[in-house]
């Protein structure tokens, strides 16, 4: 039996690999560890997991040598807005090498950022679908930003430039509006984002009556590392938040999940401050408008009243004249009527008197006596019946021109 040395064996493996697999391969894998070296290289560990995500199906070391890393790193970050990190799915062009001491490893030649972006987009989409399914995706958007969003809870990193910009812009707004800002510190990059932003949200929620809106902002760094805002838990908390949430997390690419569920999404902290100032400006304009309308309406009303009074005072004399004439006519009529009345009455009375006079004249006994009649009296009383008389009565017969005495025999 012929034995060979380990070095010889490894040498054969190495040359076989070189001979059999000389090409570069595009490989899909997930990064399970990443460590940049002091010399400027970058060491990766790549894995492939099964469908459950718990078990490894394959694993390999991969090295990105300094020269390649210096080109690939900025290119990848510019394209994706992310740094290479654990858990990221990548598409790498690799050559296969074998080193007698260090064993099997891959050497990265190139990277395709679109694959990673596609994977992040797919993850975002999955999260959004889940939020939609859970019925929370539009909840925060249904809230109304109050007319005067002056009391602002800011979730940001205390050291972030964006926070300072935001605060200064509000404080120095040209209109002189007053704002009240309180910072609830949270990590804005790295693995702690989800946990610390949620805990800041909870702190705001405990004092929700003290605030009108919540603003999540961070200053834009060279690399935005937005994937930490593509988190189901964070999005769920934002969507369910009792106050309107505005995000200004500084980026140009597609919206993060946090942006989608927020009430309003702007690009930068400065834009967030502008948004708030504009909202208050609109409100102030509305007040100006109302004030102007008020004074216009009052002026108009007063003018109308003035015109009304003037018109009335002009009309008054002629109205009065008409009234006077009318009253005079009434009086005149009354006068005529009363004069006529009196006259008629007098005439009627005169007529009546005349009749009475005639009647009286006709009844005068003297007139009757003159006509040839005579009046017979017995003891001073007129005799009306023969039967009232007896023999021996002394009668007085009255004529128009005198009287005689006689005795019945």
């Amino acid at each position: 039996m012929e034995a060979i040395t380990l070095l010889e064996l490894n040498g054969r493996v190495k040359s076989t690999l070189q001979f059999e697999m000389p090409d570069a391969y595009w490989v899909q894998a997930e990064i399970s560890s990443i460590s940049p070296s002091g010399q400027g290289h970058c060491y990766l560990e790549l894995v492939q997991k099964d469908a459950t995500g718990r078990n490894f199906l394959a694993k390999a070391k991969a090295n990105i040598w300094r020269g390649t890393w210096l080109k690939l790193k900025p290119y990848f970050e510019a394209q994706t807005g992310e740094t290479l990190k654990v858990g990221m799915k990548v598409l790498l062009q690799v050559t296969v090498t074998f080193h007698e001491v260090y064993g099997y490893s891959l050497v990265v030649q190139d990277i395709d950022p679109t694959y990673t972006m596609g994977d992040m987009a797919r993850r975002r989409k999955e999260i959004l679908e889940q939020l939609e399914k859970d019925g929370v995706i539009g909840l925060n958007r249904e809230l109304e930003i109050p007319a005067l969003p002056q009391r602002i809870a800011v979730i940001s990193s205390a050291t972030a430039a964006g926070w300072g910009d935001f605060r200064d812009q509000l404080a120095n707004n040209i209109y002189g509006f007053r704002f009240y800002v309180k910072l609830f510190p949270a990590a804005m990059q790295g693995d702690d984002v989800e946990r610390s932003v949620i805990s800041a949200l909870n702190a705001v929620a405990l004092r929700r009556d003290d605030f009108d809106v919540v603003i999540i902002i961070r200053g834009g760094g060279a690399v935005s590392e937005l994937s930490c805002f593509d988190s189901y838990n964070l999005a769920f908390n934002i969507a369910n938040f009792p106050l309107p949430v505005i995000t200004g997390i500084g980026h140009e690419r597609d919206d993060t999940v946090a942006d989608v569920v927020a009430h309003t999404k702007v690009k930068t902290p400065t834009a967030a401050a502008e948004f708030i100032i504009n909202r208050v400006f609109d409100t102030a304009s509305e007040l100006e408008n109302l004030t102007r309308r008020m004074s216009d309406a009052i002026t108009e009303k007063m003018n109308a009243e003035k015109v009304r009074i003037e018109r009335m005072s002009q009309k008054l004399p002629s109205l009065f004249a008409v009234l006077k004439t009318r009253q005079e006519q009434v009086l005149e009529t009354l006068w005529i009527r009363s004069v006529n009345g009196v006259r008629n009455m007098l005439t009627a009375q005169a007529h009546k008197l005349e009749i009475v006079d005639k009647t009286l004249a006709a009844a005068d006994p003297h007139v009757i006596l003159k006509r040839g009649y005579s009046l017979t009296r017995l003891n001073g009383r007129a005799v009306k019946c023969v039967s009232d008389l007896k023999k021996g009565d002394r009668l007085t017969t009255v004529f128009a021109d005198g009287s005689v005495e006689s005795e019945i025999i």
Partner: protein, 60 residues
């Protein structure tokens, strides 16, 4: 009173005058109320509310 309530009331008053729903005697009263509302709103916009400031400055 809240800012939005004040604005709503102000709007009611102004509309009332514009639509000629008020007589001169009422307008005097309304004008007084409107002035107070406008002042209230302007103060909210432009003057620092020490009360709010104090509330927000208290540490949790």
């Amino acid at each position: 009173m809240k800012y939005e309530e004040a604005m709503k009331r102000l709007d009611e008053i102004v509309s009332g005058i514009e639509e000629n729903k008020m007589d001169i005697d009422q307008i005097g009263e309304s004008l007084k109320e409107a002035r107070e509302l406008i002042k209230f709103c302007k103060d909210k916009l432009y003057k620092t509310d020490e009360e709010i400031k104090k509330i927000l400055e208290t540490e949790d």
